[in-house]
């Protein structure tokens, strides 16, 4: 077993799911036997019918022993066990993670403000506790005093500590995480047993799993098919008696089990659990299965520009000289002005000067005095020993500085600045002042850099029929330029939280489902309104409460993966249902001639597989029926492979594989099993 920690990626970079772990059948079989309790099986009507059939056939095998009777009874039990094992395997995958989490919860004590010690389990919302370096935070809450670095790896798997401080959007702390430095006072916000960790444990264990709406609808269809086939077989006996071909009860039970959709019935719950698990593997906690299904249906994705579509920071993309300066001179000055600038923008200027203009970094500039950025000056730069002063900064600030020193501004500066703004960039003015006056040297073009591969992702989404909308505080013009570069369908520029909420409501009134990410308290209303609201784990408690999923990596790009997981869940269900129903044809061709060819020899023409004997035919069908469940467990857990494509392309592919395959495969499988089974004495 892997532990929760090493299953987790250690960086917040786009997560790769861990390679599908090998299935541990041992513990699963133990779980499968425990699940034989009929009270639990009633929830899965198809499996329950097989269970009843197993009980009956066992009784028949005892009262009227025969090799055939015992083999049928045995394989029927194996069918039930396979179904149970599938569920147990799926549940087992979350167990280890739950155990680690539980440990974090149990070892916690809390210290109140007056220094008294209480068990974490006795904490109530509103109580304030003190947590100092080295201690585990006893429960979910808000930092009301102090600032601390916190190790949240127990929850997120991310080893780098995060800062938590009172006030603002970084005040939420989670029970079970460890304070690494300093001291904070936390106001508890959750009841015991309902903390984030508690909910996580319940989720990864599948204990609190509520069946999702679509799963319920499918279960109804499967139940109805089960009833139909029960009626078919129950009424078949009178018809058989009339025809002088009365059937043994064992044969009829075998027929029912083969006809009812056992494959999907057995795997349905495992598929659901595995779908949730796939999210957990990507460090996403869905607070309800409903949200996972809704993710597959999403029509509109609201994506924050920064961090999702573009890299977090703007980068220098070109130097534009003004007046009679050359680009090289501007590059040189820009590099000098940025040498000590540790901001990402500053570093990107140095990088650009080096890569584009071949200017090597100069580490030591004796006598130079660096001028850091301040909120007052809104500029930064350097004072060189030769008396030259270089400054770079926002256009307005630099122009004011030049003018204050009596310098002139070439008229083209305005055009260049406007041009860069129009293209979605940010212009930084570069100016110098020396004994002979101040002047503007040129403009640095800072640009939002669209993350690599995003344009392809958005093209995929468009093929899947999903519209993307970029949310940004930038003005409309800037936003449009970035959207065009990234291949985004629409933008919401200068967005306020109210605008976001209104946009979601507008989309929803047209019947569309909306997904979004958010982290701030002011995102909470929109997160709550969205059909799929993914809160960042770094976000506020309000945001986490409002959303129906939490991304522990706080990676907004993951929304796209969540949509894919939702789709994959539904595709797996649909494909296995199709497969299961398509299987019936071959089973009819195996069992019907076996039942009736004795009385109507002509019906042997239906025995297209040329199965060796009636007993062998029936047994082979039952064996195939049980084995196919086991064979499909890995697929149910992994999910049917999902490739972004249009609905009709996807339907064509899945119908060919699971529909046509579902018709053909059992003919081959039953024949092969028959070749083996017919070797058993008493069967051939």
């Amino acid at each position: 077993m892997t532990t929760a920690l090493d299953r987790r990626p250690v960086s917040a970079a786009p997560t790769e799911p861990r390679p599908s772990a090998s299935i541990e059948w041992g513990p699963a079989m133990a779980g499968a036997v425990r699940k034989l309790d009929p009270r639990g099986l009633v929830r899965q009507p198809v499996v329950f019918v097989v269970w009843v059939g197993s009980v009956f056939s066992t009784v028949l095998a005892i009262t009227d022993p025969s090799v055939f009777g015992w083999l049928i009874a045995g394989w029927l039990w194996l069918t039930v066990l396979s179904a149970n094992a599938a569920e147990a395997v799926a549940e087992g995958r979350g167990k280890a993670q739950a155990d680690t989490l539980r440990k974090a919860r149990q070892t916690t004590v809390a210290y109140l403000l007056d220094g008294s010690e209480v068990p974490a389990a006795d904490l109530r919302p509103g109580m304030r506790v003190v947590v100092v370096a080295g201690q585990v935070i006893p429960g979910d809450g808000e930092v009301v005093e102090g600032i601390a670095s916190v190790d949240e790896s127990a929850i997120t798997g991310e080893s780098a500590p995060v800062i938590r401080e009172s006030g603002g959007d970084r005040s939420a702390v989670t029970g079970g995480t460890t304070v690494l430095s300093d001291r904070i006072v936390v106001e508890i916000t959750s009841k015991p047993g309902e903390t984030f960790v508690d909910r996580m444990i319940a989720l990864v264990e599948g204990a609190s799993r509520q069946r999702t709406p679509n799963e319920i609808a499918l279960n109804i269809l499967l139940s109805s098919l089960t009833i139909v086939f029960l009626v078919v077989v129950i009424t078949l006996q009178p018809l058989a008696i009339y025809s002088g071909a009365e059937q043994s009860l064992t044969t009829l039970i075998a027929l029912v089990v083969c006809l009812i959709p056992t494959t999907i019935g057995a795997l349905l719950s495992a598929i659901g659990i595995a779908g949730m698990d796939r999210l957990v593997q990507r460090n996403v906690l869905a607070m309800s299965g409903r949200a996972v299904e809704a993710a597959g249906d999403v029509n509109t994705l609201l994506l924050d520009k920064t961090g999702t579509i573009t890299l977090g920071n703007r980068q220098a993309s070109e130097f534009v000289a003004v007046g009679d300066y050359s680009d090289d001179e501007v590059a040189d000055a820009a590099q000098l002005a940025s040498l000590a600038d540790e901001t990402p923008e500053g570093r990107s200027i140095v990088v650009l000067a080096k890569e584009r203009y071949g200017l090597r970094g100069r580490d030591d500039l004796p006598g130079a005095e660096f001028v850091p950025f301040t909120a007052q000056t809104r500029m930064s730069g350097v004072d060189l020993p030769d008396g030259r002063q270089l400054r770079k900064g926002a256009a307005g600030a630099v122009l004011a500085w030049v003018r204050s020193l009596g310098g002139s501004v070439p008229p083209e500066v305005g055009d260049v600045v406007d041009g860069i703004s129009a293209a979605g960039g940010t212009p930084l003015l570069l100016a110098s002042a020396s004994a002979d006056g101040a002047r503007v040297l040129g403009v640095i073009h800072l640009k939002d850099v669209v993350k690599a591969g995003m344009a392809e992702r958005f093209a995929e989404l468009r093929r899947m029929g999903i519209r993307t909308v970029m949310i940004t505080g930038d003005n409309e013009r800037t936003a449009r330029a970035i959207a065009a570069e990234a291949g985004i369908d629409d933008v919401l520029a200068e967005a306020t939280p109210e605008d976001k909420l209104a946009l979601i409501q507008r989309e929803q009134s047209g019947g569309r489902l909306v997904a979004m990410t958010g982290d701030g308290t002011n995102d909470a209303p929109a997160l709550a309104q969205a059909d799929v609201g993914v809160a960042m784990n770094t976000g506020t408690t309000a945001a986490k409460e409002a959303g129906n999923m939490v991304d522990l990596d706080s990676d907004p790009t993951k929304l796209i993966e969540i949509v894919e997981i939702g789709k994959q869940l539904l595709i797996t269900r649909g494909s296995l249902t199709t497969f299961s129903i398509a299987n019936d044809l071959a089973k009819y061709f195996a069992i019907l001639p076996a039942m009736f060819a004795g009385v109507f020899p002509g019906l042997d023409a239906l025995n297209v597989m040329r199965l060796s004997s009636p007993e062998s035919a029936i047994l082979s069908a039952v064996v195939f029926n049980a084995l196919i469940i086991v064979a499909l467990v890995p697929l149910a857990l992994r999910g049917v492979k999902y490739r972004p494509a249009s609905a009709s392309a996807m339907l064509r592919r899945n119908l060919a594989v699971y529909g046509v395959g579902g018709v053909v495969l059992p003919f081959v499988g039953i024949k092969l099993i028959d070749l083996l089974v017919s070797l058993i004495p008493g069967i051939a």
């Binding site: 679509n214 009339y242 025809s243 019947g511 269900r573 199709t578 109507f600 019906l603 009709s648």
Partner: protein
């Protein structure tokens, strides 16, 4: 011209005629049933107001024709109207000797009267009695012929309600049952039936009020030639996919089916409304391609069935039959085997049940096919109205499974298929197989059920299976060979007809209510397209696999055992 060539020519002619007529007729019906000003194209023809004659009806019945109904009210209207119809028809038969125009017939005995009343109200028109020797003209005209109109109209109304469920969104109103039924009669059935009756009279179908004529044949024997208002009843019998013949021999009687072209015309009549309704559906939901897809599935299944039946009949065993070109026993030998196959296929694929040949005498494979036609749930194209709503419910099931395979919560025409929708659709699929198989099982385990069998072995089983299939699917055709006018069969088949008609209707109207209340999800590239050939094939497969496979074991012991013997 060989019989086979003539057969293909007839089928081709039929397809051509249906292709020509289904568009204007479908559009006309769409316009007739578009009652909400918010729906349909914006033109001065849509929606249409009430006609004067319709206002008279509404006033007489006492309904507010402009008030739309919620689904429970709509459903109550359907059921109440049908119940009253059953009681009226029962009374009329029982008391016919006391009423005028009784032609000297006695009151019908209770079992048969119940069976016949249910039979005609459910659009089944199973006839356990012999028409010309049981029913007087008054019952034929005021009872049976009237039900031929209204039972068909009820079917159309329920189908229209379901279509509105798809077409509307965010409303709890499904339209007004009384308006729908009235318009189905005044604007669709009555005008078409009038034209059809005139054509039939021109073709030689009798139409009079005589009690019959005594004639002396050339050989000197006396023969009684029963007359009556045959053509008028014949027209609606086919048009409303009713099937209850004036004569016991039904359309095989020379007064009902005097010539080959009249027989072919009858086939056209019984197919024309069911094949036009998908167009109506497409128009009303605002996407004609959706209607085209539905009609495509219907036509595909029908063509396959017809081809198979012709093949089965033509390869009949035995030197004599091969010399004759095909099986001839029980066929309409005047017009050739293929027209019998065409008639038999059309009548069982719709819920008509009229026959111009005896299905009992088909080759075993041929008999299996006409039975399988009904077992598919009569959706290709099915009865007037019932065929469309049956196919739409199966489309819901197909969309549900296929929709999952494209990774979305399934939606059909923008309507999400959730728990409630699937419960109703699943129950719908459940009803008929349970009725057919339970009925058959009971019949072959009871002495009274077995007592009516004229044949033993597989063929006997086929006869019982056919009877319950026919009744539960509201077809009404008989395999013959079964003396069904017994208390057991009158009661059991009557129950099968009633449940087979009204349980599905309950589910369909409830489904319509659920759908209408929903909003509409927009169509995107991620939406399962339900108008493409791929979906047409898929829906066809669902009909065959989900519905058809249910009957495989029963068929294996009946016609299949016989065919492979």
């Amino acid at each position: 011209m060989s019989a086979a060539a003539a057969g293909w020519l007839q089928a081709g002619l039929l397809v051509l005629a249906l292709a020509l007529v289904h568009r204007p007729l479908g559009d006309w019906m769409a316009r007739a049933f578009t009652t909400d000003p918010a729906e349909g194209p914006k033109s001065r023809f849509w929606p249409q107001g009430h006609w004067r004659v319709e206002r008279l009806v509404y006033r007489a019945v006492g309904v507010d024709a402009d008030a739309e109904q919620r689904w429970p009210t709509y459903l109550r209207s359907v059921l109440a109207f049908s119940l009253v119809s059953v009681l009226f028809l029962y009374g009329l038969q029982r008391l016919q000797s006391l009423l005028p125009l009784d032609n000297g017939m006695a009151g019908v005995e209770p079992g048969s009267a119940w069976n016949t009343a249910v039979s005609f109200v459910t659009n089944t028109n199973w006839q356990g009695y012999s028409g010309e020797s049981t029913m007087g003209h008054l019952v034929q005209m005021a009872g049976l012929a009237v039900q031929n109109f209204v039972s068909a109209a009820v079917g159309i109304a329920v189908a229209v309600a379901l279509v509105r469920g798809f077409a509307r969104s965010g409303t709890d109103r499904l339209g007004n049952f009384w308006v729908d039924v009235t318009r189905a009669i005044t604007r669709v059935l009555l005008p078409l039936a009038t034209v059809a009756a005139v054509v039939l009279v021109l073709g030689g179908v009798v139409q009079n009020l005589s009690s019959g004529t005594e004639a002396t044949t050339l050989a000197g024997a006396t023969q009684f030639l029963p007359g009556g208002p045959v053509a008028s009843q014949e027209a609606i019998k086919e048009l409303g996919t009713n099937g209850g013949g004036f004569y016991n021999a039904n359309s095989a009687h020379p007064f009902e089916g005097p010539s080959a072209w009249v027989s072919l015309f009858q086939v056209f009549l019984l197919l024309v409304i069911p094949f036009s309704l998908p167009r109506t559906f497409g128009r009303m939901v605002g996407d004609r391609r959706q209607g085209l897809a539905i009609v495509g599935v219907m036509a595909g299944l029908a063509t396959a069935s017809l081809a198979l039946t012709n093949w089965a009949q033509a390869r009949a065993g035995g030197a004599a039959l091969q010399l004759a070109g095909a099986a001839t026993e029980g066929q309409e030998v005047r017009f050739g085997g293929p027209l019998s196959a065409l008639f038999g296929t059309a009548t069982t694929l719709t819920s008509t049940g009229a026959v111009n040949s005896m299905h009992d005498s088909y080759t075993p494979t041929g008999g299996l096919l006409v039975m399988a036609n009904m077992m598919l749930g009569e959706v290709a194209p099915g009865g007037v109205g019932s065929g469309l709503y049956g196919m739409l419910v199966l489309a819901v099931v197909a969309v549900f499974v296929a929709g999952l395979m494209v990774g979305r919560t399934p939606e059909y025409l923008g309507k999400k298929l959730g728990r409630r929708e699937m419960t109703l659709a699943s129950l719908y699929v459940l009803v008929t197989p349970v009725l057919v198989l339970t009925g058959t099982a009971v019949a072959v385990t009871t002495d009274t059920g077995l007592g009516s069998l004229l044949n033993s072995g597989s063929h006997g089983l086929s006869e019982v299976l056919y009877a319950f299939t026919s009744a539960s699917n509201n077809n009404g055709s008989a395999f013959a060979g079964l003396s069904a006018n017994t208390p057991f069969y009158n009661t059991a088949l009557g129950l099968a007809m009633a449940f087979g008609r009204f349980l599905p209707m309950v589910l369909v109207v409830a489904l319509a209510g659920r759908l209408a209340a929903q909003g509409r999800a927009p169509v995107t590239a991620g939406t399962l397209p339900t108008h493409q050939p791929l979906f047409v094939g898929l829906l066809g497969a669902v009909v065959l696999v989900v519905v058809g496979l249910t009957y495989f074991p029963a068929l294996a012991l009946g016609p299949l055992a016989e065919a492979l013997a």
